[in-house]
């Protein structure tokens, strides 16, 4: 007999995603991912000035404001074939990298670690033993016995008052929780330290972006930061030095805590390398441009077919035809209608956003997300595709951190764990941490490049755009924390005629497409273990490994008090 489990909402902080699974004999047999809110923001943009689009699109989402700002200005610049000053590129790059690092740290520690780490078990730990273990893994200065004792007392205080606060919804004591009390305590201590450290990334974004949480410095044509080595009220040497200091502190945490913790937890949960493989067609885009046009990039991107690294096909410029021609979106199982028929898949330049809500139909329409495909195939996007494509392109820093992480996993697991283990639930966490270490290196490099260029006397940050008569089309893509983000704009005589955002979570959480092929979440959940259908922790592990953020994939809000889990017997 199979059991139907509905999880709604799925995410601990950003909501709006529903997942249904059919469980038989302790494993998932069929899965549906559904965006529960409508995204109609594209319709707001029609008829507006393309120079204003970035400020509006950064309001789409509560987590990834800056990424939409970047994709939007890039789309308009691409439509105009407008080159931007190299200083603007470096400043944007630093904002994107710092934002990405922030996002990855918060995702691992605050949004998903508690799927693997049992806070209540940490209370039973011996802080001395936990400290010795942590010190054997890393020389981070927050691994002392005194620090771990302090953390344990703090958590005891919380549990003692009967208020777990932010930890309320955890599956404490679940049979799938496997870590020793000491490892749990180490992870909880790092959870608290991560709260402290994430602020450095945020400060970098606010200084360079002129404001937080919504940046204000971006403009079509560059950035609005005036550069100067001495003058006040602009981006001065003093501010840039403060930024550098925060970069160094972040880097210490990323390399000596985050990367180590993920590898250690991965080693203890080595059986989770068997689950969550799903779609192994991987798409990522190159990012961190090193010229004004976007033809040279620090971090490579591309397409990998069927998990085979050697099949890597690179994407190499902002005008890359292979990428531009490959993307389309279907609505066969989505709550929209296409004027030319719902069996069609439309290129984003021709995209339509006309709602048609039906109700949740297992074999019909069941999601507010569209189904994006690349040359007709559903893709997985995100840190794993990014890291695999960088490895395939021979990117040395990626190779270095991936090797270090897999070596540590192998040591802890007591068996050789190779690259193939990355195609999995726990592998996505590992790839995110590896990618984050790469980003941290790159963040400091971009700072050096900016300073070196300013040293030559080049202070230019903006090229004024001009809008010709007639129609222009452009795409702006960005390798955002959750994967490929692309904005597609059609401009007519200086006014937006059409606008479509194809966001990472839409790629991953897509419903079945026009050929009835499942999206990445749906495919990755097949075969996933479920020990107790009343407490489907293992399903959450796999979905959370993608870092779901439906706030931008879909929209609007009228949510009443949803139960965390509803279970229905089928």
């Amino acid at each position: 007999m199979s059991k139907r489990v509905t999880i709604d909402p799925v995410t601990r902080i950003e909501g709006h995603l529903r997942v249904d699974v059919e469980v038989e004999a302790g494993h998932v047999k069929k899965a549906w991912a559904s965006g529960q809110m409508w995204r109609g923001v594209e319709n707001i943009l029609i008829g507006r000035d393309p120079r204003d689009a970035w400020a509006i699109t950064q309001r789409i989402c509560g987590v990834c404001t800056t990424v939409h700002a970047m994709a939007s200005v890039r789309a308009v610049e691409n439509a105009l074939q407008l080159e931007i000053p190299i200083n603007a590129q470096y400043i944007r790059n630093m904002i994107m990298l710092a934002h990405g690092i922030h996002d990855h740290i918060v995702h691992f520690y605050h949004l998903s670690a508690l799927d693997w780490v049992d806070v209540v078990s940490a209370l039973k730990a011996d802080p001395g033993k936990a400290a010795s273990l942590a010190q054997s893994l890393s020389n981070w200065n927050g691994n002392s016995k005194a620090e771990f004792t302090k953390v344990q007392d703090r958590i005891k205080g919380f549990v003692g008052t009967g208020q777990l606060g932010i930890f309320t919804n955890g599956y404490w004591g679940h049979p799938a929780m496997k870590l020793s009390p000491e490892v749990n305590l180490m992870a909880v201590a790092h959870y608290l330290q991560a709260l402290e450290v994430q602020r450095y990334a945020n400060k970098i974004v606010s200084i360079l972006g002129s404001k937080s949480p919504h940046i204000q410095n971006v403009a079509v044509g560059g950035v609005a930061n005036a550069l100067s080595l001495d003058s006040q009220s602009v981006l001065t040497m003093e501010r840039l030095l403060a930024v550098k200091e925060w970069m160094i502190k972040l880097d210490d945490f990323v390399k000596n805590v985050y990367l180590i913790d993920v590898a250690a937890i991965g080693g203890f949960y080595a059986d989770w390398t068997k689950y969550g493989r799903g779609i192994t067609d991987y798409l990522s885009v190159p990012d961190i441009p090193l010229d004004g046009k976007g033809t040279v990039f620090a971090l490579p991107g591309g397409y990998i077919e069927g998990g085979k690294i050697e099949s890597h096909k690179p994407i190499t410029s902002f005008n890359d035809k292979f990428f531009l021609d490959g993307v389309s979106e279907a609505v066969t199982h989505s709550w929209y209608n296409y004027s030319g028929g719902n069996d069609k898949s439309l290129h984003p330049y021709k995209g339509e956003t006309t709602p048609n809500y039906t109700d949740f139909q297992d074999d019909g329409k069941y999601s507010w997300l569209k189904s994006p495909t690349f040359y007709g195939k559903p893709m997985q996007v995100g840190p794993l595709p990014r890291v695999l494509n960088m490895l395939a392109a021979g990117h040395e820093p990626t190779k270095k951190y991936a090797t270090a992480a897999l070596d540590l996993v192998s040591t802890i697991a007591g068996a050789k764990v190779g690259l193939d283990a990355l195609h999995s639930t726990i592998g996505r966490h590992a790839a995110r941490a590896v990618g984050c270490a790469v980003q941290s290196d790159e963040l400091m490099k971009q700072w050096d490049l900016l300073l070196a260029n300013m040293g030559k006397g080049d202070m230019k940050t903006f090229n004024k755009p001009t809008f010709p008569k007639g129609e222009q089309m452009g795409v702006g893509f960005h390798e955002a924390p959750r994967g490929v983000l692309s904005h597609w704009v059609v401009i007519e005589s200086g006014v937006i005629k059409n606008y479509q955002c194809v966001v990472p979570t839409t790629w991953n959480a897509a419903p079945r497409n026009e050929k009835n092929e499942p999206g990445a979440y749906e495919a990755c959940l097949l075969g996933n273990p479920v020990a107790d259908p009343e407490k489907p922790l293992e399903v959450l592990r796999t979905v959370h490994s993608f870092d779901p953020c439906l706030a931008c994939a879909v929209h609007v809000v009228d949510q009443e008090n949803n139960p965390v889990v509803t279970v229905r017997a089928v």
């Binding site: 109609g40 606060g165 932010i166």
Partner: protein, 159 residues
């Protein structure tokens, strides 16, 4: 003394963005002393952690569904604040409540929190407030200024 006036909401969804509109107006029309920070929080969450740490007072302005007719204002303080976060009256508390819970965990939560809210008339797609809610914005602004005053802060109208 550190005080934050935080407007939250999604300005793409008409009345949903009322909190942001009120703090924009506060910033445009008044000079506030340096110990007060005005934040347009949009729908953000953890990014605001740093700015909300160790506050003497937090004033949140938001759209709140409290079962009254459209455009009815509401003021929540003291014991009502945790209830507000528990019963999901506003769409953003998922993130804001987690930020506040994180601050509790690190012992850096605001000393006092008040929530100034208003029942939305519409949350459909659009960048303008409905006329009903727009008409109450001056009142919400006056309440915000009164709450600042209660914390010992006087603001000065820009000339």
């Amino acid at each position: 003394m550190r005080i934050v006036v935080l407007g939250i909401g999604n300005i793409l969804l008409s009345d949903e963005g009322v909190g942001v509109r009120v703090v924009e107006k506060l910033e445009a029309e008044y000079i506030v002393p340096p110990e007060v920070e005005i934040i347009d929080g949009g729908t953000c969450g953890m990014e605001m952690l740093d700015q909300l740490e160790d506050l003497d007072g937090l004033i949140v302005v938001d759209c709140v569904r409290h079962g009254q007719p459209p455009a009815t204002p509401i003021l929540l303080r003291g014991d009502q604040v945790p209830v507000f976060f528990k019963t999901k009256l506003s769409p953003h508390q998922i993130s804001l409540s987690d930020v506040l819970a994180s601050l509790e965990l690190t012992d850096t939560a605001p000393k006092t929190t008040v929530i100034i809210g208003i029942q939305p008339a519409s949350m459909s797609l659009g960048m303008e407030l409905t006329p009903e809610v727009a008409a109450r914005v001056p009142e919400l602004l006056a309440t915000t200024i009164a709450e600042l005053k209660a914390l010992g802060i006087t603001v000065e109208a820009r000339s």
